[in-house]
């Protein structure tokens, strides 16, 4: 941790008792939690870890739970916007040659739908769930690099606003979420639309990278004592692997979008075949990110499934080690399949066949996960509550998506269905089935932890069945219409091809699916206000987040638990053993060793600060300006430098002076 992240002590007046136990700064040690009774411990910790009051206080918060809640709500709003895009598109496509919207708006709509769902909904929401849950599950008091985490949220929300304000100004990108050159290049995409795409991508990926780094460090260094690698919950493993995939994949798309804006703004010819550049290079770079992106969205969802199934099957996950190794294998393999998005570009046939084999191969670790989950369920009838219903829906839908993925992996077969509605059906089965259904299950599962109230089970079941019917009605027929020859990304189609009826059916399903989310939103609000009180552990689940109160206090755990089992709450029914010795007057947490999670040192966690917000504004302004002139980088450097200096200003703690 950077030295500047160390807490300032300005609003606290610790009694400075010298303590012999101090191992870092014994001469300046404050009160420890060792001898305190519960009530005074709570008073101390609440004062130390609270988010300051007032607007400035709220904007300065570095509490991972506060930031995760903001992330979750923002991402849900973007989901609704992206869903509305889809509904408008489906109305346009509900019959041949409909004139509701023209190609200009339609192309913006499908681009915004893709960009919003991928960059503003799916990746942020899985990361946000991790921001909320990972520190709780590993038994620590805050995420690593709390200010970076706060910064990531502000960057994300301004990137999203950037895109949607552009859309409101009819300036949104209209070149697809993939923005292939030359269509997005300077010659064929005049105006600022493609620049908005390029900078918005770079920008939101900064946020995603920041969260990934914070997650990795939290998992590696902040685990509760005793949580050795074999006792890390599967959900945390999933987030860890995902974060590594983010770290290696996101730079590829940032390079792509930066090359694109260099071509457009500075006049480089990286992608211009007329000047020795190559249009295919863009696709390689983009899909080197784009395929792992699918797993960035999917792997955290598998973590959610691995958390929900044991809770309702009433036993630890079958094949824990197998599940972990599968996650890691998928993480690695996800980087070896990008070419299957490019089979139609005329690559050498032998090379393409290699990617058939690698794309088929990734089905094996995914199969291992599916079989292990099924085996977990086989011990008797599981408790069927809404979270598990959504997981069952996940199996129903995702397995179809996975199997059509196997079809797409075949080069010759792909040449018929590539860029048709078959592919649209396939990846919605994978992404909605594989990620959104587990996310909905996760919402019902962890909502009680976040709000302290249960969600309505009755509405939950209605929601599930509506979503199931709506989803399958909307997306299953797309397989068929794709085989009938309907390409993707068309704003209309002629009547004589006979696609009218099936498209009307699809549109009706899409509306139904959208309504299921309206019901979900109602359930969220209704239950947050009126839901039955949840208690600490409403599902009698086994992982650490259920050990603390619902919602958790700002400091997460009054005393840091000691972990002896992969499902600690099932192993220690009465009370968890705890570690003591942390200071209560400053934000201190335990740093443990990577493999064994032996408590290593005590470290301070950053205090609230407004500087991450100011830094995000400076960075955001620079990016916005940079769609107009490359000089923005020069002029923007000054405010960014100032905000970063403010952020990292030394506080005069002993560690700073070493």
């Amino acid at each position: 941790m950077s030295s500047a992240d160390i807490t300032s002590e300005r609003d606290l007046r610790p009694e400075r008792e010298a303590s012999a136990k101090g191992d870092i700064t014994p001469e300046r040690d404050g009160p420890r939690d060792t001898g305190l009774d519960d009530a005074s411990l709570h008073r101390w910790l609440a004062r130390t870890w609270r988010t300051p009051p007032g607007i400035i206080g709220a904007l300065s918060s570095v509490d991972h739970k506060v930031i995760a809640r903001r992330y979750l709500i923002t991402a849900f709003l973007f989901l609704c916007l992206g869903g509305l895009n889809a509904v408008v598109m489906r109305i346009q496509l509900s019959g041949p040659r409909r004139g509701l919207i023209g190609p200009d708006l339609y192309n913006q709509l499908f681009t915004m739908h893709g960009v919003t769902m991928m960059f503003l909904f799916a990746v942020p929401i899985v990361q946000a769930t991790g921001i909320y849950l990972v520190p709780l599950m590993v038994g620590t008091r805050n995420i690593a690099f709390p200010r970076l985490n706060a910064f990531s949220y502000w960057v994300y929300v301004s990137g999203g606003l950037f895109a949607w304000v552009s859309f409101a100004l009819s300036m949104a990108p209209d070149v697809g979420w993939f923005a292939y050159v030359p269509l997005s290049g300077p010659e064929y995409a005049p105006g600022k639309r493609a620049d908005v795409w390029a900078q918005m991508i770079t920008y939101t990926e900064v946020s995603s990278l920041a969260v990934a780094v914070a997650t990795i460090v939290t998992v590696f260094k902040h685990r509760a004592p005793g949580m050795s690698l074999d006792k890390i919950p599967l959900y945390v493993w999933a987030l860890l692997v995902t974060s590594f995939v983010v770290v290696f994949a996101m730079p590829a798309v940032m390079v792509t979008s930066t090359f694109l804006i260099l071509d457009r703004l500075v006049g480089t010819h990286i992608f211009n075949p007329a000047e020795g550049g190559d249009a295919l290079l863009f696709q390689h770079l983009f899909w080197f990110f784009g395929h792992p992106e699918v797993y960035i969205i999917f792997l955290p969802a598998t973590g959610m499934v691995s958390a929900i199934i044991p809770a309702f099957a009433r036993r630890p996950a079958f094949g824990h080690l197998g599940l972990v190794l599968s996650l890691i294998a998928v993480g690695f393999l996800s980087f070896g399949l990008w070419v299957h998005h490019m089979f139609a570009t005329g690559l050498p046939k032998l090379g393409a066949s290699f990617f058939t084999a690698s794309s088929m191969m990734i089905a094996i670790p995914n199969g291992v996960q599916i079989f292990c989950w099924l085996a977990t369920l086989w011990d008797g009838r599981p408790v069927i509550r809404t979270p598990l219903l959504f997981v069952l829906g996940f199996f129903f839908i995702f397995v179809i998506g996975g199997l059509t993925g196997v079809m797409l992996a075949s080069v010759p077969l792909d040449l018929q269905v590539h860029d048709t509605y078959f592919v649209v059906a396939h990846f919605h089965y994978v992404l909605i089935g594989g990620s959104v259904f587990p996310l909905l299950g996760a919402a019902y599962f962890w909502f009680p932890k976040i709000t302290g109230r249960m969600m309505s089970e009755r509405l939950g079941r209605w929601h599930f069945w509506l979503a199931m019917v709506g989803f399958n009605a909307a997306f299953f027929p797309m397989h068929i219409v794709g085989l009938w020859g309907m390409p993707r990304r068309v704003y209309t189609y002629p009547a004589e091809l006979g696609w009218g009826n099936i498209n009307f059916f699809i549109s009706a399903g899409a509306v139904l699916f959208f309504l299921s989310f309206v019901l979900f939103a109602f359930n969220l609000v209704h239950s947050a206000l009126r839901g039955a009180p949840a208690g600490n552990n409403p599902w009698d689940a086994g992982t650490l987040e259920w050990a603390t109160s619902s919602p958790p206090p700002s400091y997460n755990f009054a005393r840091i638990p000691i972990v002896t089992n992969v499902e600690p709450l099932w192993a220690q029914r009465e009370a968890l053993p705890v570690a003591t010795g942390l200071r209560v007057d400053v934000r201190e947490l335990v740093v443990s060793t990577v493999a064994e999670a032996h408590p290593d040192i005590r470290e301070k966690s950053a205090t609230p600060s407004i500087w991450p917000l100011l830094a995000a504004i400076a960075v955001g302004g620079t990016f916005l300006y940079s769609i107009f002139t490359p000089w923005a980088i020069v002029w923007g450097a000054a405010p960014i430098a100032i905000t970063l200096i403010g952020w990292f200003w030394p506080k005069g703690d002993p560690e700073d002076e070493e």
Binding site: D104, Y180, P182, P273, A279, R314, P316, F318, G319, A344, T345, G346, A352, S353, T356, A357, M360, I364, G367, V368, F371, C372, L374, W378, G380, R381, P382, I384, L392, F395, L403, V406, M407, S410, V411, P412, L413, D414, L415, Q416, H418, D419, T420, M468, N472, A473, P477, I480, L483, G485, P487, R488, V490, Y491, T492, P494, L497, G498, E567, W570
Partner: protein
């Protein structure tokens, strides 16, 4: 889920039966490549459906069991888990075998496809443009080289080699009932071999998003018996027909005086533009504006009068014509058989 599955299945079957007869359908193959691919699609679909059903059965089993009685989640029956482990390992092994099988199948299918055009006698260059197809028939004799647009005549029963590229953005050439798709990429030349078993008209369209009018970038492959094809080629090589009526004559004059000639070519006249479709024999084609409108006097007039209404964003500008002028030009074009 259990009550929903049969409904979805029945719907799917019903929809399938309705649509197999399409003229742009991968499931209605009319050539050796598409037949091979349709077979592959059905095989993969059948196998995947079987796997899916097995997984769903495995998922449904616990839902039909008696509720568990033990309350202590950490007490695991080790023997039962060992039995499960064997089942899981078997399932993983089967998965691997199936995947290896499918990989080999797909590899051999690819080889079959590659062999289709090995003895192609006819080579056609196709160049993608926003939003139409330039079609050039290669021949050893320069005077036999023919350039046309959007509609591709081929001899039925013979393999034909397509050399495809683009001069603007990326497009993708796809006529599902004959073959899989292949991209047209500026700076790259791709080779696609096609063969139609029988005479017929096969529709295709651009399959890579290429901008505003991606949806209206259709093409037709018109397979004919060899003699008919040769006759067609010969006819197309002739210069444009001279206008027959006074109106058409006036139309030709107008055409040559107006900006039309900046982009379009009419063989045998001074009009020599090459950035838009060649109009020498436009009236012999079946459609207009890359498959958007059927060829008729009314549609010709509509397209010239309001190209931006019919294909918003297209590169065909609105020509400022009076009603009489429009009629004259349409009369002229209508005569370009």
């Amino acid at each position: 889920m259990k009550r929903f599955a049969p409904i979805a299945f029945a719907t799917a079957i019903a929809l399938f039966l309705q649509g197999c007869a399409g003229w742009q359908s991968a499931l209605d193959p009319k050539g050796p490549a598409a037949s091979e691919l349709a077979w592959l699609i059905w095989f993969f679909t059948g196998l995947c459906a079987a796997v899916w059903v097995l997984v769903m059965i495995a998922l449904a089993l616990p839902l039909m069991m008696r509720p568990r009685e033990r309350a202590e989640p950490l007490v695991i029956d080790a023997d039962a888990d060992n039995r499960k482990l064997r089942v899981v390992m078997t399932a993983i092994g089967l998965t691997a075998v199936i995947l290896v099988g499918l990989t080999l199948l797909s590899f051999f299918a690819n080889r079959t496809l590659a062999a289709i055009g090995s003895d192609a006698a006819l080579t056609i260059r196709i160049t993608g443009h926003q939003w139409w197809w330039e079609v050039r028939y290669e021949d050893a004799t320069p005077s036999h080289i023919l350039t046309t647009a959007n509609e591709i005549h081929i001899p039925a029963g013979e393999p034909v080699r397509l050399l495809i590229t683009s001069t603007d953005v990326i497009h993708s050439f796809w006529v599902p009932s004959l073959s899989g798709k292949l991209d047209l990429i500026p700076g790259h030349m791709n080779v696609l071999d096609i063969k139609a078993d029988k005479p017929g008209v096969y529709r295709g369209q651009c399959a890579e998003f290429c901008g505003a009018q991606h949806a209206n970038m259709g093409t037709f492959i018109i397979a004919e018996p060899r003699e008919k094809f040769d006759a067609w080629w010969n006819d197309q090589l002739q210069p444009a027909a001279a206008p027959m009526s006074d109106e058409a004559k006036a139309g030709e004059d107008l055409f040559l005086k107006r900006p039309c000639v900046m982009c379009h070519k009419v063989g045998g006249t001074p009009a020599g533009g090459t950035v838009a479709p060649d109009l020498t024999h436009i009236a012999s084609r079946q459609t207009l504006a890359a498959g958007t409108l059927t060829m008729s006097r009314g549609n010709l007039a509509a397209w010239i009068a309001d190209p931006q209404g019919i294909k918003p964003g297209s590169h065909m500008p609105v020509a400022d014509l009076s009603g009489d002028e429009l009629n004259a030009i349409v009369a002229y074009l209508e005569g370009l058989k």
